[in-house]
Structures are given as structure tokens and as C-alpha cells.
């Protein structure tokens, strides 16, 4: 639907911009589908496209079906949902705090969740994570009560850190760099707490906690994936609903207030929702470093600063990046035991340094 001869120049430009963004969105979707296809086909157990299709359609049974439905599809879905969540939470924290260096990992929110979950594993016996992990299996070991306990404790940890960050950023009016330093301090505090918990734990519990904190998408069952997706979806809708508010807040707080935005309400609710999403993701998949920083910054390069576009692109990119990192991790070591958090750290740490040197992209 091209602009006709009567379309005014500004709106013609608008239509052209949107068409270009649509092309980028379709390319991103195509890349995700391709990455998902490769993730199903490639691995320690090679599958032919025919065998994958057969398994997907229920015509194939035996090992191919087991590998596709029992191992690879949950892993792909977990990567996409976790990546989506971190992309959203990263963009959310960045925009709500107006800080290009902010993300769940750099603010210590992920580490807070990790501490809460470690406490749940050791002190309350939530999750028997060591055995299946060491056996190289995924799924089947979660009881619902354990999932609730682990998630609840992770949530408390993450929300406690979120609350401190919001207080420091808003009440004390700290600079973006100072907030990141506070994040480093809170992160260290959470890490110390996790180490203390490990010190007091038995060997099996220590193994469970250490394995769990790596950040991995191999351990999810469809239930955790579903729970995380069930949280990510309405939270995505919330942020999309408030995309105008986020645009306004990025243009200045007084301006946003003048445009009718309830700035403090949006900031507090948004940060709590980000904390909740990170808590759930971390409880199920451990700490996945830097993805919440990578995805929004790449999205900003692709589509600019409008949150109506940034939110879907950041979520999709988060999913794609985590899926690529996980697939690469599987292929690199062959056995499927390289946690994806290690790879995202390798990718994210240089980006973080680059942003620091550049003084942020704004």
C-alpha cells in the first residue's frame, strides 16, 4: 500500500518508515525461525529434516521423537521465552530509570533473585536440582510446591534489590553511573549471601546451587516455560500499553508529567513487573548475564527510540540471541553442558565496557 500522489510528504515519510520497520521485523522473525530450525536439527544427535518433521507431526516415534519433544523443543521454547523476558526487563529498567547501562544483571536484580533461590534450595530444600543436572537430563524433577517456594524466594530477593535501586535512583536522585555502582554493590552483597549459603550447605546442595546459578535453559520443563510465558505476556502488554509514557519519560520527567503521564506510578509498577519477570526467569533458568543489556541496545540501533517498536524488537532479539547462544554452546562442546550464561557474558561484557567508554548511547 504505497502512498498515493495525494499523500502529504510527512505522512508519506511515516508510511515509508513503517514499511522499512516491517521489513526488519519480518527479517528478525525469519532469523528466529531459521535459528529454531537449526537448533532442532543440529546437536550431538543429528537429525534429518524429514525425521524432525515426522516427529513434529507425530509420525515418527523412538529416539527422534524423544530428542525433538523431550530435549530440543523445550530448550528452544525456554530460550525464546527467557530471552523475551530478559529483553523486555532490560528495556524496561533502562527506560524507567532513564539509564542506558541499566539491566537486571548490571543492577544486581538477577543476582538478588539468585540469592533468594539459593536460600530456598539450601535452607528450605526447594528443588532437587543436583541429581538431574549431574545426570545430564532435563525436566521431571520439579514439584509444584518446590517451584512456588523457589520462585517466591527468588522474587523476594529480586524485589528487595529492585526496591533499593528505585529508592536510590528516585529519592536520592543518583546519577545513572552512580546507580550502576550501587548495582555493583548490591550484586556483591547478593553474591556474598549466595556464597555464605553455599558455605553452610552440604556438598550435594552446593553442587545444586553452583549448577543452578550458571544460567542454563536445558533444565526447563514445559511447566516452567508456560509459567514464565504466562507472566511475560501480560507484562509485555503492560509495557506496550505504556509505550507513549515511556517515550515521554525518556524525553524528560517534567515533560512527561505535563503530557499527563503518572510518572511515579508507571515507574514503580514497571520496575516491580521487571523484578517479577527477572525473578521467575532466574528461578527457572539461573542468572543469564547481560542479555537484558544486549537486546535493547541492538533493538535501538535497528528501530530507533520509539517504544512502540523497541518493545517487540527488544523481546524478539532477546529470544533470538539466547537461542543462538544456547545452540552455539551446545555445538561448541558437543555434550550440551556449556551453560548459556557463560556465552552471553562473553558477548555482553565487551558491550558494557563499550557503553561505559562511550558514555551511553543517548
Amino acid at each position: 500500500m504505497g502512498p498515493g500522489p495525494s499523500t502529504p510528504p510527512v505522512l508519506a515519510g511515516f508510511n515509508q518508515q513503517r514499511r522499512w520497520v516491517l521489513v526488519k521485523g519480518l527479517l528478525l522473525l525469519a532469523a528466529t525461525v531459521l535459528a529454531a530450525y537449526l537448533a532442532v536439527v543440529l546437536g550431538a544427535f543429528d537429525l534429518t529434516p524429514g525425521a524432525v518433521l515426522g516427529a513434529l507431526l507425530g509420525r515418527e516415534e523412538g529416539r527422534a521423537a524423544l530428542v525433538v519433544w523431550g530435549i530440543r523443543l523445550p530448550r528452544i521454547a525456554a530460550s525464546l521465552v527467557m530471552g523475551w523476558s530478559l529483553g523486555l526487563a532490560g528495556l524496561g529498567t533502562m527506560s524507567l530509570l532513564k539509564n542506558p547501562l541499566a539491566s537486571p544483571f548490571t543492577l544486581g536484580i538477577s543476582q538478588g533473585a539468585a540469592f533468594g533461590a539459593a536460600l530456598a534450595i539450601v535452607a528450605f530444600g526447594a528443588g532437587n536440582l543436583g541429581a538431574p543436572a549431574l545426570a545430564g537430563q532435563s525436566g521431571g524433577y520439579w514439584s509444584l510446591a518446590n517451584a512456588y517456594l523457589l520462585t517466591g524466594c527468588a522474587m523476594l530477593g529480586s524485589l528487595a534489590v529492585t526496591a533499593v535501586i528505585v529508592l536510590l535512583a528516585r529519592v536520592r536522585k543518583m546519577s545513572p553511573q552512580a546507580v550502576i555502582l550501587a548495582g555493583v554493590a548490591l550484586s556483591s552483597l547478593s553474591l556474598s549471601g549466595t556464597i555464605l549459603v553455599q558455605y553452610l550447605a552440604s556438598e550435594v546442595e552446593v553442587a545444586a546451587v553452583v549448577f543452578w546459578t550458571f544460567g542454563d535453559v536445558a533444565r526447563s520443563t514445559w511447566r516452567e516455560i508456560g509459567l514464565l510465558a504466562a507472566a511475560a505476556l501480560p507484562i509485555t502488554v503492560y509495557f506496550l500499553r505504556h509505550r507513549w509514557d515511556l517515550n515521554a519519560m525518556n524525553a524528560g520527567e517534567d515533560l512527561a508529567l505535563g503530557l499527563g503521564v503518572e510518572v511515579e506510578r508507571v515507574r514503580l509498577t514497571g520496575m516491580l513487573l521487571c523484578g517479577l519477570l527477572v525473578a521467575l526467569g532466574t528461578a527457572f533458568h539461573g542468572v543469564v548475564a547481560f542479555l537484558g543489556l544486549l537486546a535493547p541496545h541492538i533493538a535501538r540501533r535497528l528501530v530507533g527510540a520509539d517504544h512502540g517498536l523497541l518493545i517487540p524488537f527488544s523481546c524478539l532479539l532477546g529470544g533470538l540471541l539466547l537461542l543462538l547462544a544456547d545452540t552455539a554452546g551446545r555445538l561448541l562442546v558437543g555434550s550440551g553442558s556449556l551453560p548459556v550464561g557463560v556465552l552471553t557474558s562473553f558477548l555482553g561484557a565487551p558491550l558494557f565496557l563499550y557503553l561505559l567508554l562511550k558514555g551511553g548511547p543517548r
Binding site: 502529504p8 510528504p9 510527512v10 505522512l11 515519510g13 511515516f14 518508515q17 500499553r241 507513549w244 509514557d245 517515550n247 515521554a248 525518556n250 524525553a251 524528560g252 517534567d254 515533560l255 508529567l257 505535563g258 503530557l259 499527563g260 503521564v261 503518572e262 535501538r300 530507533g304 527510540a305 520509539d306 512502540g308 548511547p361 543517548r362
Partner: protein, 257 residues
Amino acid sequence: MILEAQDLRCAYGQRAVLKGVNLKVGSGQIMAVLGGNGAGKSTLLKCLNRILPLAGGEVRLDGMDLARMPRHQIARRIAYLPQRQEPDQLTVFDSVLLGRRPHIAWSASRRDHRVVEECLESLGLVHLAWRRMDQLSGGEAQKVALARALAQEPALLLMDEPTSSLDLHNQLEWADLVWSLVRRRGLAAVVALHDLSLALRLADRLALLKNGKVHSDCPVNELDEAAIAQVYGVRVRLTTVEGWPAVVPLGLMEKSA
């Protein structure tokens, strides 16, 4: 449209900034708020828009108490241009579209886009529509801020020192633009300014603030040198040059005077 502020009080913590301000401005009128640094000009503008909470008094818009109106409804009637334009990566088009935020429920309609287009056209900004905000000059950014405010379709414009970062050319261009927009669209405007000559050129009424109170509130032609001397502590001469009013500073007042 009539905006009325009665006994307006505002404080930052224990420090009272506004100590009982009374103001009234109506459609087709431009009021310049003048006063020295720290007199409370910016605070007054933010109170008129409920950006800052009041410690006392009330603001009424066509008789309705602003404190009882939801923020987005206030934004449909009153547009606010902050003093500082924060660096922002939105395109000019999207930045002006933000002005439609108080009117938009979920997504921008064709009408919203048309309004933005009209605002860009009326301020001569069409050629900048797809440029990023952080790539504009100070004068261009100030015009975009005005376009965004117009996109709100407000009855009242509140402008906080809009010319503070503009050169002489852009100051005059901006003043002429605001003057003609207010007349053409029947708006009201309250503008905080430092430049007395520009205020005399632009405004219909002047409100001089001193120590958080209105020292004098008068039509432009009734301003006298004594009032300026008392508010700023500077001896001045009011004159006209080729029909334009001008304020010539003569020297600082003696402390004891």
C-alpha cells in the same frame, strides 16, 4: 478559557518558594512572568500545571479545581514546555506525536497523524520530520517543543524560559511565532522570561515575582521603572526604539536603597 491561581503556595521541603501567588489569564492573552533568579518563576509554572504539588491555595481552569482533574485531562487543556530539552533519540515526528498522548487510548489514529503534520507545517518543520531530536540545533529543538505543545490542542501554553538558549535571531523568530499562534488560535500563554525587552515586545500582561510573591501584575504599558528597580535591584530606563519597547539597564541599586 480562564486560568485563575489563588493564594498559591509551594515549598521544597522546608523552603517556601511561592508564598501566596494570585494570577489570572484568559484566552488570547500572553502573560510574561518576570523576576530574578530564584524568584519562583519555574515553580509557579509547574504549579499551574500540577506538575508540582501545592502546599496551599488552588488553581482553577474555567472554574474547575485542577486538583480534582485527572492528569491526562489537564494535559488536554494545558501544554507545558519545560526549560530544558533533554537529549532524546526520537525522530521529530515521533516527538511531536507525543503531544497527542493525552488524546490517545492505545494507538495513534489517522487524525493524530494529521494534527502532527499540520503542526510541523505551521512551524516550518516538515524538512526535519525524520531527523533525530538530539541532532537538532537549540532553535530547532525549541520549535519542535512548541509543535509538540500545539499538537496537544491546548487552550493554555505554559513556557518556562523558552528563549534562554536561543540566539538573538531565534529569540525574535520564536517571539513572533508565539505571538501569532496565540492570536490565530485564540490560546492563552504564560511565559517565564529573563529578557525584559522581549517580554515587553511579546506579552500583554506582566507579573513580576519577588520572594515568592507577585510584586506587580499589570498591562505592559503600565510597567514602571520603579517596579523593575525594586524587583531586580537595578536602575533602568524604559524607552522605545522605532516603536519597540526596550529596557536599558543603568546600574545596580545601592544596597541600602
